[in-house]
Assembly symmetry: C2
């Protein structure tokens, strides 16, 4: 494995994963005079289109993975479900940042939640469910309503089943194929927020302003910055993200999704989940900030100093999902709106096809 | 030739020329979900690095040019010295925007200056020099000091010779190889400014705020926006650029470099030269504005509506020329500075290697 030298302009960063996040990482790297090489399994990978070198092959093709590692100076990834074997195989040949150990902790909801709880950071109550008796015990301990979630490979609401008050826990578990799951207590949250934080190789931290997120059908639909929260809540959220990044020894950009909960004793912040990568709720930084989350990630992994992000507008980021991509023409006519299309060929339902950032120059 | 249909996301724009301007055009097109195909003669073309399809071949290789035209939906160019035969060969096969007729008018300083003067827009006094007698007549008419400039292929101070008061005009002409030239009267300007204006296919016009430019060794070194000029001078400059764009029937982004001259009778604006393309003095729009000149050009040629540019900061754009590219590391540490590197492999003296935009959030 080569040492983690600071990259020079002209160096090549390998990106595992070829979705829109990889694409926007590659565009940010290009601005900085860095080359990117993309490895992805899907032939219709939007990131292939903006780089010279790419490999389309399964994530277990060791020959192609080795060729990829040989062709780059450093490897990063744009999705958290990189198979552990892939990450380890590559890490034996080239520096991989963030460290693949992070993946093991974030690919499994039980391990992730336990890790967070061990940091004395609040989460929804949770319990592992791997058997009928565990299911019964979990429902007893946590109560209903609750959400049953597969431990692995869930995203955008996939691998989740709601259990209403008085509902049938077994039926929910069977709907998930009796997979290893966790039962999470239902959190009556006031709002959902997220913090995007960057950590450099030498431990410097920079976070972007907290975003407030609105989901529709379990998929992020709108992020607004600033979030409608008090400075105290923002500081709590920031602190949580920073502690997680430090605990991971993270290098790069990390997103933490949280719930703001209002109860009798005041307002508290609970962690919902961690994404060890750039995140949809940070796309606004491409247009409304002096540095984007993508550039910040590239700076971090390259061993360059992080930028101090200065947000210059109030922003609203709207995802274009499925057929909504056809709205691009209307958005092109809206002053202060920046249109981003990911170049995906097919607008399947639920597929993120692009996004729009609306900038409001006068702070609200 | 295919009709000039409005492009759809997923369409391919062909870019003639592979320098940093082509590179930044391709990056802007990618954001909008458009593909780019780059044709350039130089193997070390920075634009090749951010696209999937590119052709490295001479501009007179008709076979490769035909293949290029066949592979794209529309062609644009990033430099004004596209050979007329190349442009015409391509235009017979595909829509080329801006119309190649513009090239004929801007590749020759005499034709360009005459065209501007015919619009009743002021320029420095000029006269054609193609013979010894014309040289003598020109010096008589215009006086000294003056600048002798080759009619074709001059840029960044190349193809120019200053003639001081009392200097030897013949010696200057011989230094330029007795090429067809024009003699331009020396203009004691107060400042240099430029206007970047976009014109859509349907004649809509949008200009960016006027930039004030500082050259060093005939190469742009710094652009500042806003320019230190009165609203009246800014309006004059805007109006001049708009009239030129209209007179050309221009589609795309056009830059007009001007002198602000102060004399007894007040302040006037003289046109120095026209660049029928995105321009170095508009690079600040990538960071300090809601839309960049590159995106605006792509929108215009694609047949999409232009954006209304909203500048949100005072900006200073600093070119990194030759060895100055090594300053990138220092600039990475400056808050509010955006670093752009063009990915050129060799930092030759006078070569534009990158630029930095400094954003000052509080308007000066």
């Amino acid at each position: 494995m080569s040492p983690a030298t600071v990259l020079q302009p002209g160096a090549t960063i390998g990106i595992l994963g070829g979705g829109q996040l990889g694409r926007m990482l590659a565009l940010a790297a290009a601005r900085l005079g860095l080359h990117c090489h993309v490895y992805a399994a899907d032939a219709d990978s939007p990131a292939f289109d903006v780089v010279q070198k790419w490999i389309c092959a399964p994530y277990d093709d060791r020959e192609r993975l080795a060729a990829f590692a040989d062709a780059v100076d450093l490897i990063t990834y744009e999705f958290e479900n990189v198979p552990a074997e892939t990450a380890n195989f590559l890490a034996a040949r080239r520096i991989v940042l963030p460290d693949p150990a992070v993946l093991a902790r974030t690919q499994d909801r039980l391990i992730e939640k336990t890790f967070i709880a061990d940091l004395a950071i609040a989460t929804a109550p949770f319990a592992a469910v791997g058997s009928l008796s565990e299911l019964a015990a979990a429902v007893d301990a946590i109560g209903l309503p609750a959400v049953l979630k597969t431990r692995r490979l869930g995203y955008d609401g996939k691998g989740q089943a709601m259990i209403a008050a008085g509902g049938d826990p077994l039926r929910a578990w069977e709907a998930l194929g009796r997979a290893p799951t966790i039962l999470e207590g239902f959190v009556p949250f006031e709002r959902e927020i997220s913090v995007i934080v960057a950590r450099s190789r030498d431990g410097q931290l920079q976070s972007f302003d907290v975003a407030e997120n609105e989901h529709r059908d379990h998929i992020l639909k709108v992020s607004r910055v600033p979030a409608a929260i008090t400075p105290d809540v923002a500081a709590q959220a920031d602190d949580i993200a920073a502690r997680i990044a430090k605990a991971f020894g993270f290098v790069g950009v990390l997103a933490v999704e949280m719930f703001v909960v209002h109860d009798g004793s005041g307002t508290s912040v609970l962690v919902n989940e961690i994404a060890p990568r750039v995140h949809n709720s940070g796309h606004w930084t491409l247009d409304g900030c002096t540095v984007s989350q993508f550039e910040q990630h590239i700076r971090a992994v390259a061993g360059w100093p992080l930028a101090v992000p200065v947000r210059w507008a109030d922003v609203e980021m709207i995802n274009l999902i499925g057929d909504e991509v056809n709205d691009y023409a209307r958005w092109l006519g809206v002053t202060g709106a920046a249109v981003h299309l990911y170049g995906k060929s097919e607008a399947r339902p639920g597929r993120k096809m692009g996004h729009v950032t609306r900038m409001f120059h006068r702070r609200r």
